[in-house]
Amino acid sequence: MLDDFMIRATLAGVGVALAAAPLGCFVVWRRMAYFGDATAHAAMLGVAIALALELSIFVGAMSIALLMAVTVSFLAGKNYAMDTLLGVLAHSALAFGLVAASFLTGMRIDLMAYLFGDLLAVSHSDLAVIWLGVLAVIVMTVWRWSPLLISTLNAELAYASGINPKREQLFLTVSLAITVAVAIKVVGILLIAALLIIPAAAARNLAWSPSSMALIAAVIGAFSASAGLGGAYLLDTPAGPSIVCVAALIFAVLITVKRPT
């Protein structure tokens, strides 16, 4: 069954959408949309390094994404605002990554595959790595759900409940880096943030509680992945962007729904 490339592609897309949904909710609640985008852009440098050193793309992308996230968290609030730092570091990392990739003359690398995803080329081993990452992220977000939520609301409230919000932030950062790494193959570096934010934002109007928002986002994300892939197959359009288009259309429809009170 896994020998059919469409089935592998669907499983990969749905998997990443499932991991991105609860994480995307936190990105929306904590106003980290730009942070997620920047972490994803930084992964390009990781890809280039991995190609040069003949390492796994996944490991390279995850390491640099993590390094970026930690650096930004550490530097934020010193002399620059968070978004300024993200703008500097993320775009620099993307630019350095693209330049570094151009030096790799030994092999022809398809930049488009990394920037916009290459879902139809997901191999058996890619699928295994993607689902390993997806399961790790899902386990981590479910396990840390309440502590993360209370830390999101108020750091002091978390401390008073015996929770260290800095530690919770680290869980979130690691989850984000893993998600970025596994999502490169699915939607590509430039559209990872869309997969995080759009399903969560679309779910907001239907949700009545934090967990319901995450579950609805997961359903929207998984549906977008399957429908986007189906559409890409029928219309011969690029798979990753098609998935994001479906999610965006769902958002557009749901934004007209009146919020439950």
């Binding site: 609640w29 502590p147 209370i150 999101t152 409230l157 008073a160 015996g162 509680s209 934090p210 009170t261």
Partner: protein, 252 residues
Amino acid sequence: MSLVKVQGLTLGYGGKIVLRDVTLAIDSGEIVTIVGPNGSGKTSLLKAIIGALQPISGKMHYKPRLKLGYVPQKLHIGPTLPITVLGFMRLTDSVSKKECSAALDKAGVPDLLNRQMSQLSGGQFQRVLLARALIGDPELLLLDEATQGLDQSGSASFYRQIEEVRASTGCAVLMISHELHVVMSASDRVICVNGHICCEGSPSIVASAPEYKALFGSGTEGALALYRHEHNHQHDCLDPMHSPVSDNRSDS
């Protein structure tokens, strides 16, 4: 025995000391208010007590298995995060719906259980925070400028609620406020800080202490009288002497 005892505590951020050599103890059942100007270190003191700030030096002793309830200074739940009052109150502790209901009653806001947090008024929101802190019957309630954003009558009634809670549960209360006149009438003891402890004692002693007057001016004594006046108000707005004062107050 004391619930919390702090000895020679020095606090700071990144090498900059904000509070030096503080020694104090909170006994069960008392209401203690910390007052001080902006940047005086009063919030840092509370942060150290809840464990959010590591002291540079000094010792802190807690009564074993002390149950704390904390009401934060500022908490904004925007409309992006859907969460009901019940969901919010159960976030970290697994408590029954009944317990949440009872806590809301104590905080003076029954029937809010199924409302969305983002749709509450400022006063309702603060009382829900209070209710959450009351879950599990804390022995010590900590409040960090809990009435920011409430108008004067709103915060006065909030502090009256605190007195009621203390009367019914017997918990000690340690709170920070800048609304001196409102808070002081509710306190058993006032500690005035400005980088260190300037003076402490009963509200009337602190209000007349020279250190306190140097920090806040003597005008606050008038405000204290004003509050007492408002507390048992009897339509004395007919009295021409009082109307300009009331106008001033609502402007500030």
